[in-house]
Symmetry: C2
């Protein structure tokens, strides 16, 4: 059951992150809280379009909003990002192994090139 | 331009990861390469449905396939997962700060409780 809830949460987090505007909104909120009007400013999109993106982020638990008078103040909520990060960590061994293999290949290649140059100098 | 390409790649990676079946396929491939028939076995889904999920993972660069006779052998490709992980790392300070704040709160709470118990014993 817990796994099912976690799966549902990951579904909505990755769904929220698949849109570049939503990722840009999260980035802008990493500098501090903002109103939706402030969030919308740098985007060539309508206030309504930004508002919909904010709603997707909110329902994924990535953003929290507080209504103060007529303004909606938004904060980033990092916990679901941490969970997504932890899910990806499972594959860390793969990319690290690949990087190790690449480093060995580059080192070998450099050694061969160095040998070739030294050999060239002798003759 | 590079940023644009990276953004497009992240779009398709997060889009691929938002489905629990696709995440389960990646997990199963983390034990080694498999044919699509082998991948499909544990799922209550048709071969065609699994095949479509494999195509989404492939177009996101998360899976590579090689056709040998009538069998399609699949491997995990971790590079795009690493890039997605790096994107999330940007927010690490947020969840780490939150964890620090939580630890301080728990430690304070434990101290208060301990004091209360000690006080209770004296009387």
């Amino acid at each position: 059951m817990v796994e099912y809830i976690e799966a549902r949460q990951l579904d909505s987090v990755f769904n929220a992150l698949r849109d570049p505007t939503r990722r840009a909104i999260l980035r802008s909120l990493s500098h501090g809280s903002s109103t939706i009007k402030e969030i919308a400013k740098p985007f060539p999109l309508s206030f309504n379009a930004i508002s919909k993106h904010v709603m997707v982020l909110e329902s994924a638990g990535l953003l929290r909003r507080e209504v103060r008078g007529r303004e909606h103040h938004c904060w980033i909520q990092s916990r679901p990002l941490r969970d997504a990060n932890q899910w990806l960590e499972h594959y860390r061994q793969f990319w690290e192994e690949r990087m190790d293999a690449l480093e060995i290949y580059v080192a070998k290649k450099a050694k061969v090139l160095k040998k070739g140059t030294a050999h060239g100098r002798l003759h």
